[in-house]
Symmetry: C2
Subunit: 284 residues, 2 copies
């Protein structure tokens, strides 16, 4: 069993992801000191749940950390990055867990050289939120993307890679621009279209109509309870890619509408393509 790549880890934002990182750290390397930064009642929960050893409500709690993990929503992480140089005095590695990577990468460009920032995105795929739902195996066998690794010393990348492996996740290096483009398709468009679909279906069918729905609609709309707060930040920081993906979906829906009006067999190509990609998704 190798030693921990970091000995004092500060986690900013103790929700599902931040809390699960604390639990996974303690499970893998019990000796690592974990500091929680959040509102006082959340820090209390983190300490009670053994997610963290100590904490506080300002970034100064992280002053002697060798790793800082920004685990708040994207725009809060960006705001924290701007204050970081004033609160952290020595050499330190900083990462985040935001769902978009360009905005946070741009914000990190202004940091002094002693602060090595690498973007991170654990693809945990949980539909719940809050520290109460945290669990040490949240990241097990799931990809954990690291971006901007070429801009920092290789020792920092190696240490972060060990950290990700300690979370039992699969590290994947990726460009921040490509990350945001691909995630618009595999994560952002599905969430936004499911929320739009559930809204339209509920309004159109009403309570009585929904009583006729089967398992198909239930599975299709599993993501429909996702909180707006998380998605507001994602929409704000990946608007261009999301707009392109939405345009493509709207075009496909308009194609179906035209088929319904004039030539039903025109839906065939789209159904064949969908079934083919579903096969790729399930059997890769």
């Amino acid at each position: 069993m190798s030693g921990p790549p970091f000995r004092r880890v500060a986690i900013y934002g103790l929700g599902l992801i931040g809390g699960s990182i604390g639990l996974a750290l303690k499970a893998r390397w019990p000796g690592v000191q974990v500091m929680a930064i959040d509102r006082p009642h959340v820090v209390d929960s983190a300490i009670r749940m053994r997610v963290a050893d100590a904490g506080g409500d300002t970034l100064s709690v992280a002053s002697d950390a060798d790793l800082v993990v920004l685990a708040a929503p994207v725009l809060q992480n960006v705001a924290a990055l701007a204050r970081l140089a004033g609160d952290l005095h020595g050499r330190v590695v900083v990462t985040d867990v935001s769902s978009t990577k360009r905005t946070v990468t741009e914000a990190a460009a202004g940091l002094p050289e002693r602060i090595a920032f690498v973007g991170g995105h654990p693809l945990s795929g949980a539909a719940v939120s809050g520290i109460e739902a945290a669990r040490p195996d949240l990241f097990a066998d799931r990809p954990w993307i690291l971006t901007g690794t070429e801009r920092v010393p290789s020792a920092a990348v190696e240490a972060l890679t060990d950290f990700v492996l300690g979370m039992r996740a699969i590290p994947r290096l990726m460009d921040a621009v490509e990350h945001d483009r691909v995630l618009a398709y595999v994560s952002h468009l599905p969430q936004l279209s499911v929320s739009a679909l559930m809204h339209v279906v509920g309004l159109g069918a009403g309570e009585e109509g929904l009583a006729l729905a089967g398992r198909g609609l239930r599975d299709t709309t599993r993501l429909a309870t996702s909180p707006a707060a998380t998605w507001r930040d994602i929409v704000a920081t990946n608007g261009d890619n999301i707009a392109s993906a939405l345009d493509e979906l709207i075009a496909a829906l308009q194609h179906i509408k035209a088929a319904a009006a004039a030539a039903p067999a025109d839906i065939d190509d789209l159904f064949v393509s969908a079934a083919r990609w579903k096969g790729v998704l399930e059997h890769r």
Copy 2:
């Protein structure tokens, strides 16, 4: 245990639904005679699987049936209805299992009075197809809609209600026009938007991008393997309702696109509405 409402039942179209009706009939009333009408190799399978006792490839097989169940795709059922009066000579009850109800109801309007037609739609919600997937409990505890019951003698409605209860389903009387409007929302729009989504996501992300997808996308796209053939007929016979529902979904997606460009908080209302309707769907 009450006696069977029908003693000789002909099933036209032995796919998942027709096959499961045969199995459920034999399970509930072993003495009922079941005749299968389909291509010869499908009839052979039906007899081998004990779905039916005998069969053939023309409607004349149903000549002495007291119930005929049309279980082919909608437009084939409509074509069969037009030939029915020539093939069936006595008093008979006819029903169907089509996913849309207006077209088949209109086609039945021209039948002689001795043929009592009631539209049917078992909401079984299975994502597989073909007689091989047939099972006797496919309809258990699921709604089975009956339409146009006011146009036929009450004895026919009572017998069909007993038949539906024998399938272990929950009979629900409904107007054909309202059926098609509501089903456009709870079934047709979800299927069509999922096929469009999987097509767009696959093309945009590619095989490598799909490797980053989580359980969210998998659940959302469970329906993406549905066969085009079934949906072509549904699109052809419910085009107006489907077009309205598609327009509403497109408007919601355009609202999100505008929010992404200018005011991310504008997605909040839609997320709140979606979460509320998802709650109604899951907890009614």
